[in-house]
Symmetry: C2
Subunit: 197 residues, 2 copies
């Protein structure tokens, strides 16, 4: 505890305990403002992520079901993925939506960016609302993705959440739905304001 301004840590050295094309485990030696040295303090480098809340003209949310090896569960999720090097986050969001679901077009709104896990991950997760998307292609997920598409009435998702069910079980994706709910409350557009959760 302190009443003084919080100061950043100083990094004495940086090394990668592990690094490949998917993930970097960075292990720094750091000095805290109180003089204590932490060796190592781990952070994880990963590309930025995007989550897409895509709503069809028929008021359905577009979801994908897939096996998640870390969680050891088949999960229903928002279309999501990595931002490629040099790619703008919204472009990544549009690409992932099209690849995973075949949906595109519509009106896009940036809902905000958050640190997924501020103590560990160095990246950010960007959330988008894509309103009135249309199916323009067959899904073309990459070879590691075995996806099942679900178009769920928005009112059913909202009712499930309000009944204490958790159709979506990932914290980062739930935070995107929360950003949508806050955005909806500040919108004068009835197509958006009805998306409050």
């Amino acid at each position: 505890m302190t009443d003084k301004p919080i100061e950043p840590w100083k990094t004495l050295s940086t090394r990668y305990s592990y690094q490949d094309q998917w993930l970097g485990l960075r292990s720094d030696v750091v000095v805290l403002p109180n003089g204590k040295v932490l060796d190592p303090y781990h952070t994880i480098d990963a590309p930025d992520w995007v989550n897409v809340i895509a709503i069809t003209e028929a008021d359905e949310i577009v979801l994908v079901e897939q096996y998640r090896h870390a969680a050891q569960r088949v999960l229903v999720e928002l279309p999501a993925g990595n931002v490629d090097p040099g790619e703008a986050p919204e472009a990544a969001a549009r690409r992932e939506l099209l690849e995973e679901t075949g949906y595109a077009e519509g009106t896009w709104h940036a809902l905000g960016s958050l640190f997924p896990i501020a103590a560990r991950f160095t990246n950010e997760v960007h959330a988008y609302l894509a309103l009135d998307v249309r199916k323009i292609a067959a899904p073309a997920p990459d070879g590691s993705e075995n996806l099942r598409l679900h178009e769920v009435p928005w009112t059913r998702l909202a009712a499930d959440l309000h009944a204490g069910h958790r159709p979506i079980l990932e914290a980062a994706q739930m935070s995107s739905l929360f950003l949508l709910s806050l955005f909806a409350q500040s919108s004068a557009d009835p197509r958006i304001s009805r998306l409050r959760l």
Copy 2:
């Protein structure tokens, strides 16, 4: 894309690319249902985490400000931390709240558990509401924590969020506030239902 039920991946072998007391980087060789082999597929072992939304009898939310080395930012956060081995999540939540802020007691409600990042982390994050907490001690954070305590009127936090500000910038913590908002909407207790966001 598939219309068949989604099947889990098969794990052919598991090794740890890196492991210490804080973090394990597990690198599996897996076979997908389509026969494709992924080598490696990384997952990260970490202890479960807890987030605490603690509200005082004066209707203030108890927040902690600290430097987060991964985000490279001083952030305002919910009291939070690791679940120790053998510890129940609610006990961890009560311990972290007391250690980081000196607040305790009150009425506790479990808001639910989520996978922080379902594609990468194997752990879960558990969210709690602690209503009518009282300050019973001086904060006693561990040596790596340089914390500044903030007691913020709940109405100010809610107004900030509705105005598009982000007093809390972590996705996992925002998901806990979303779980609180959903819980509040299903509660007949006016002390809880007014916490809808």
